[in-house]
């Protein structure tokens, strides 16, 4: 990705800044380039300012996490890992990390599988309740998870699932499903139907044809949808707060909130906890970053 961009830049960017003033005047072609692209400073100055706004908070957290307690230095030196040790064992972030990972991976798998089945039906069949179902999917986007806490709590209490990670996994999955299904059915529509038909002609069943033809082509889309689901469940706070009261069942966001609500906040431990919370999503994000833009521009969002 980076090398490709750098190549593109090579061919277009240099003329504007590199044109030496001593030259008798830029060639007409160059003048056209300078006209249709804004001057470099109009890109770099606002971009630089925005990068500062984005990155300083991250730096700030890292700084608090690795400098010794009581230090006010703005440079992270000397480096210490005492905050990490403390938060991982004393504040049981080690346990929270496992729980969050379990919730994230389980709801990612459930969301992807269920949405794949539903998305295939929506993309490839015409059936009586299809329009109504699509409408329900869209409408569900307006239903606030936060306002459903009370009835969901009662449901899970009746199912005797309060204080089990299962309740959180189900709740996360359900609220991921509509958008994931809409996205996946968009991706499936982009796979030509004739390819599947060709597989049937060759004697494949519908299921085998799907596995052999459609599934490999869906890989980028499934990676994007699965990663959304993982990041979302990893980050989500309210369901875990409401449904899990045992400390050894809690997830990282709840652990962070507990650290923040203490009477005197241990800033070093809080920052270290924040870094622990950030690492998995940053890795996933770096992994899917380039799919984000292309995935959305595939027209999936517009339906």
């Amino acid at each position: 990705m980076i090398t490709k961009d750098a190549d593109m830049v090579e061919t277009t960017a240099p003329p504007a800044p590199a044109a030496p003033p001593a030259m008798s005047g830029p060639a007409p072609r160059r003048r056209k380039r300078a006209w249709d692209e804004p001057p470099r400073w109009q890109i770099y100055v606002p971009l630089g300012l925005y990068l500062l706004f984005t990155l300083i908070p991250f730096y700030w957290m890292l700084l608090f996490a690795i400098r010794p307690a009581g230090s006010t230095s703005l440079l992270p030196w000397p480096v210490t890992f005492e905050h990490f040790e403390k938060v991982w064992t004393e504040r049981s972030f080690g346990v929270f990390f496992q729980n969050s990972l379990l919730v994230g991976v389980a709801s990612m798998l459930m969301t992807t599988v269920v949405a794949l089945a539903g998305g295939y039906a929506l993309a490839r069949f015409d059936f009586r309740i299809k329009r109504g179902f699509m409408l329900a999917l869209l409408c569900s986007q307006f239903i606030p998870g936060a306002l459903m806490l009370v009835p969901l709590f009662q449901i899970f209490a009746n199912l005797r699932m309060i204080n089990s990670l299962g309740s959180v996994i189900i709740a996360e999955t359900v609220f991921q499903l509509p958008l994931s299904m809409i996205l996946i059915s968009g991706f499936i529509r982009n796979v030509p139907y004739s390819l599947e038909e060709a597989a049937w002609v060759d004697g494949c069943s519908r299921f085998r044809g799907f596995c052999a033809i459609v599934l490999p082509m869906l890989r980028p889309g499934l990676i994007a949808v699965g990663s959304f689901a993982f990041v979302h469940s990893w980050n989500h706070f309210l369901f875990a707060l409401m449904f899990l009261s045992n400390q050894e069942k809690q997830t990282i966001p709840v652990g962070l909130a507990t650290l923040m609500s203490a009477d005197s906040v241990d800033l070093g431990a809080l920052a270290a906890g924040g870094v622990v919370a950030a690492v998995p999503v940053v890795i996933v994000f770096a992994f899917i970053q380039k799919w984000l833009v292309t995935g959305f521009s595939a027209g999936a969002v517009k339906g």
Partner: protein, 318 residues
């Protein structure tokens, strides 16, 4: 039915594969198949979305409080009357919710649009800049609170370093002062929210036809005119959809405010959903919380309809 869809999708004039396998397939894929495929999703959504929504409406008409079971029973519209007439906090939290949504969505849209236009240009280091400016998108509301609490804390936060160079005084916290708390939480949420708009708008920008710009340039249109006459109309639907989704999400945003300010100081930053959550958690008055939830539903639905109607969403191509 499946067969009908298959036939419809084939371009006219192209002979289909021989009829035999197709007929066999229709036999092998009964009309029940699509229903079987959507069944898991439909059941989950019925059980954990539709049923809770209905039960919210049901409980809004009940006195229901597990800690005061002797009062439980049919309430009629008493919960709603209480909200509109007896509960001063209802109106103040509703007002703050609207202020919060309006300010957040407007600023996020403007900054996100600007950011998308910048990273859509060709320049050295574009891929890396994109990855970095988009990265807060992946961060949770609670983690955002964590980071900004570290920045705003009164001892070692930003105010300390500002005081070092003579701005403000030591020991101040922007989060506990009623005059600074709003800009402080707005900034924190902007940090996380702008990348959402930037990503969606950037995705849509990539589908603008280059020919349009070239034609406009031949006609001598300036870049500003090109923006208003080509780019902005093209982005219209994406902007409408993303502002609407974002407005709903910001209205329902509880994570950040709950952990960063807890609704304080002095209830200054309590939104309606935050108040509902605290009623449900602290006083267990589920009946009243359900009534407030129903009101929030109706407000969201009504505003969404009006917004889609006024903005003539998708009106150009239908």
């Amino acid at each position: 039915m499946a067969q009908a869809a298959a036939v419809a999708k084939r371009p006219p004039g192209v002979p289909g594969p021989s009829r035999v396998p197709r007929r066999r397939r229709t036999g092998a894929t009964p009309r029940r198949l699509p229903y079987l495929l959507i069944a898991p999703a439909a059941l989950l959504m019925l059980g954990f979305i539709a049923y809770p929504v209905l039960s919210v409406f049901y409980y809004s008409l009940q006195h229901y409080n597990p800690t005061k079971p002797w009062r439980n029973g049919f309430a009629g519209f008493e919960n709603f009357v209480k909200a509109f007439t007896e509960d001063p906090q209802f109106w103040s939290t509703l007002g703050f919710s609207l202020q919060w949504v309006a300010v957040e969505v407007t600023l996020q849209l403007l900054l996100g649009l600007g950011l998308a236009l910048i990273v859509n240009q060709t320049f050295v280091g574009r891929a890396l800049s994109r990855a970095m400016v988009f990265s807060p998108w992946a961060v949770s509301g609670v983690l955002t609170s964590t980071i900004w609490l570290l920045i705003y804390n009164s001892q070692t936060g930003i105010t300390r370093y500002l005081a070092d160079v003579g701005i403000g005084s030591y020991g101040t916290s922007w989060l506990s002062d009623t005059s600074t708390v709003f800009p402080a939480v707005v900034t924190a949420e902007l940090w996380r929210g702008v990348p959402f708009f930037a990503i969606l708008i950037l995705a849509d920008l990539q589908s603008v036809s280059k020919d349009l710009y070239e034609a406009a340039e031949v006609d001598g249109a300036s870049r500003i005119r090109q923006f208003f006459h080509i780019t902005l109309p093209h982005l219209k639907d994406a902007i409408i959809l993303s502002t609407l989704l974002r407005a709903v999400w910001e209205f329902n945003n509880v994570d950040l405010l709950y952990t960063l300010t807890g609704g304080g100081p002095a209830g200054e930053t309590t939104t309606l959903p935050l108040r509902i959550a605290s009623i449900a958690v602290d006083s267990h008055d589920f009946g009243y919380a359900s009534a407030l939830t129903s009101i929030a539903f109706v407000i969201l639905l009504f505003c969404s309809m009006v917004y889609l109607r006024l903005s003539k969403f998708g009106g150009d191509d239908k």
